[in-house]
Symmetry: C2
Subunit: 264 residues, 2 copies
Amino acid sequence: MRIGELAALVGVSTRTVRHYHHLGLLPEPVRRANGYREYGFADAVALARVRHLAELGLSLDELRDALADDEGRELREVLLELDADLARQQEALRIRRERVAALLAGADLRPGSMGSADMAAMLRDLSTGGSRIADMDRDVLTLLDTIADPEERARMAALMRPFTDPGVLARAQALYRRLDDLAGARPGDPRVAPLAADLAAQLPDEMASAIAENLDAVPTRLRPPGSYAEAGDGRWMEAVLSELSPAQIEVFRLVIDTLNDRLR
Amino acid sequence: MRIGELAALVGVSTRTVRHYHHLGLLPEPVRRANGYREYGFADAVALARVRHLAELGLSLDELRDALADDEGRELREVLLELDADLARQQEALRIRRERVAALLAGADLRPGSMGSADMAAMLRDLSTGGSRIADMDRDVLTLLDTIADPEERARMAALMRPFTDPGVLARAQALYRRLDDLAGARPGDPRVAPLAADLAAQLPDEMASAIAENLDAVPTRLRPPGSYAEAGDGRWMEAVLSELSPAQIEVFRLVIDTLNDRLR
DNA sequence: TTTGACCTTGTCGTAGCGTCAACGTGTCTA
DNA sequence: TAGACACGTTGACGCTACGACAAGGTCAAA
């Protein structure tokens, strides 16, 4: 047989056959006088073996190793390893489909609204009022949700669960509006203190204690002076704060103070 | 933030961030005086979105398209398509694991012994006598099994099933030995005719009729002269025959004759 | 003789970055 | 003040398993 006949027989391209020769997976056969490769039946069997194993998902490198010192033992190990790898891939695919489904279930898919199944709906509702601050909150949550590992993700979803209650959500949106109103306000604005008080009071209990107990994760500028470590919380929090007005920052600092007092 | 901080925050390498800039997936941010890229919170959100979608299995090209004309609709279509693709991948993985399991179940995994689950055991037994002809038969079957589509594979398995009977197998091995004995024999050898008769007689019924009804798939040299089309059956069959002695070929030609007569 | 279907070797392209190289910057320390 | 060290910059090559050329040589049929 010539290379084209061999390739057609086994159902691959001639390029593939030559590639296998190049990699040493298949021995170069004898040449005819005109330089053409001349194949026999044994070559077809060898090629079919390589294809069979390659289609199972073995890399050509692994294949060469497995076929090199031949005789079962090595091949068996490789196949067991392959099976474990295929199992991992199946699991990864399963998770990916879950998350795709979560995204699709997340309804309107506005840019920015993506997260795990639980988060999707809440994130969607969070900013329907068109609030700037709510949008930022949603962005932060989306980002954290993307970054977090499954365990953290679950904790976040639990913390957000109170907002599935329409009443809680409505009150939150009212607070967002009052925060938005402080967009251009200066530090001493008289609306700051009452808003901070209401915010601290209406913060769901789980969320309040989560914040109070993890005060060291709060940006330095929001923390009560002299409290705890001054550890760098990552520059990105500063980037978030830089989009807020001084009055808005003051509100958050007062809320943190209150929570800190509540913890003691 | 500088690029390293952004990358660390979202959990990717700086190379990845620059790659996304290069592809236009992420806008190039403003530069500082020293040429460093300066990122804000919005960039982190955008990067997280890209990562999130990329990890679901979208290609970066698809991603750019989906994010380009933004606003859900396009993205939704892409995600639906992705889900269908993931489903296909799951199915492909399932089949691959099945075939790996079949190979592992195929016991000793001598080089050459591979095929579907059903075939594995039969192929293994076929050549345990160390017969040259049996090895060739096994190789042909292995090759056909590798090439065949699932339907053909099932038909082959059905044809081979009689050999799961130890009695049939033992008789077949005896015939193989008699064929092997003709390795160096010349055409007129007196053992040819009786062997052909026994072979034709002991050929399992399903196999005999399968061959008789598909006579045009039999190599020209084995067919009764002047019968049917002279169509080229593929050079590989000639390659197989070239490894047989004239006496052995004569045996097969006589068997084919007999089957042909039986069909009429 | 020409056409068309083969064959030959060699090179570039693919996806998503990792990993150099060769160099400039900014900060901390001796 | 100089050196060390960690960061940033652009640019280029490497990886898989081939597909798709290019630029030619070979062979059988019309």
